[in-house]
């Protein structure tokens, strides 16, 4: 028995209306939207927690450590279930009902879960980036009369971000890949679309080939974009990094 390839299937109508190809375009859009939104959230939160972990004093550091350990040691799929299924039950009833009836609830929950999950990893990298800056830099800032907030804003963070661009690039690609976990709470991103097409049309391999091609396309675009960014932002005097990830 041989597999019957049928690439025309993408032009056939899908049960959701429109062609399967249109379905994939939407899936690509949801994947990009989820990853970008989660990424922005993760970058903001991760920077905050990463900075906390470099502050003097044990209180802040412990708080930052606890944050990172919690979001790093629970599988992403479980975190998505917690946000999607558990949170609405724990808040006051009216709020819970509102959460459940939200249009595109799967999208919001996927973004929040993925955002928190990724922020713990980014916090690690931001901390490592800040700690890799020679101590003299922050001492010089203090000597110039900058406050601690100004030291971070004008001296440490601009350096740290540029140093950690390569690991941030791979973390961004991980975010895109991890957004596929959203299908478990009903987000129709690329893998979810491929899975649905496989169930309705039985054209398994066409469906997954299309999703694979789309992911490779996203990965390649990120690699090229980040390489360009890296070249633009390279710190003069530092060992030039070559290659992407």
């Amino acid at each position: 028995m041989n597999y019957h390839w049928n690439w025309q299937i993408f032009l056939a109508a899908s049960p959701e209306g429109g062609t399967y190809l249109a379905g994939f375009a939407w899936g690509l859009l949801w994947t990009v939207a989820t990853s970008l939104a989660a990424w922005i959230m993760a970058l903001a939160l991760g920077s905050l927690v990463g900075v906390l972990r470099t502050l003097p004093g044990h209180g802040w550091r412990r708080l930052g450590d606890a944050y990172v350990e919690i979001f790093r040691n629970i599988p992403l799929i479980v975190q998505m279930f917690l946000w999607y299924f558990v949170l609405p039950e724990l808040v006051p009833q009216a709020l819970g009902d509102w959460l459940k009836q939200l249009p595109d609830a799967a999208f919001y929950n996927a973004v929040i879960a993925l955002g928190f999950f990724t922020s713990a990893r980014i916090a690690e990298q931001v901390r490592a980036g800040i700690q890799s800056i020679p101590r003299g830099q922050s001492q010089a800032a203090v000597a110039l009369g900058l406050t601690r907030a100004q030291t971070y804003r004008y001296v440490l963070l601009p350096m740290a971000y540029r140093i950690i661009i390569p690991p941030l690039t791979s973390e961004f690609m991980n975010t895109v890949k991890n957004s596929a976990v959203g299908l478990t709470i009903g987000l129709m991103e690329l893998t979810g679309v491929a899975r649905a097409m496989q169930e309705f049309s039985f054209q398994v391999f066409e469906a997954f080939t299309a999703a694979t091609a789309a992911y490779l396309l996203i990965t390649l675009s990120i690699v090229f974009a980040m390489r360009a960014l890296e070249r633009r932002l390279a710190i003069p005097g530092f060992i030039q990094r070559t290659g992407g990830t």
């Binding site: 040691n73 491929a194 997954f208």
Partner: protein, 230 residues
Amino acid sequence: MFSDFDFDVIARSLPYLFKEGMVFTLSITAAAMGAGIVLGTLLALARLSAPRPLAVAAAAYVNFIRSLPLVLVIFWFYFLVPWIGQWLTGAERPLLVGPYLSSFITFSLFEAAFYCEIMRAGIQSIPRGQIAAGYALGLSHRQTMINVVLPQAFRNMLPVLLTQSIVLFQDTSLVYVLSISDFLGAAAKVAQRDGRLVEMYVFAAAVYFIISYGASLGVKRLQARLAVPR
């Protein structure tokens, strides 16, 4: 908020959760870790010192796998393995491969790509002089690799390999998409049967956290002990 938290449903389902679910989760973690490290080391050796076509093929495999989401790869193998089995055995129709066997194969092959990168870094961190010394002693390339380079690379990379295995342990929860009763799958089944989503998912999260966090503390201690004074 937690006033009607039903601890009883957790207590009642403990045997099912651990004897079926956790046993499966741990065995797939162990199997994929073993197979993944062996395959990954072979891939790393291929990338570093095999004839060019083989090295290129190994690099292509590793980069390809690493740019795909695990969920997608789980689906790929679930549907692909029966056809590959048919092709290998020359059978009439696609072999019947259950979700269990297919997820074992998936995780071994998927994780191999990640272990490969770790082992490659480990092998590259060994000073060239070690290889030269091996040759000077009259060892062949193969003997130098097996007796000199790999043991050191493995020792240096042990903490990283173990950390990757903790990630693997967490990733096995994604077999949920094939409706397998791993730990999370078992918890989800009880949750849906008894309508106790809150209890079961919170409990599952706590168990995953305790195991992963405990293991990562262990790795940290091991790292401190293994550190070679240089």
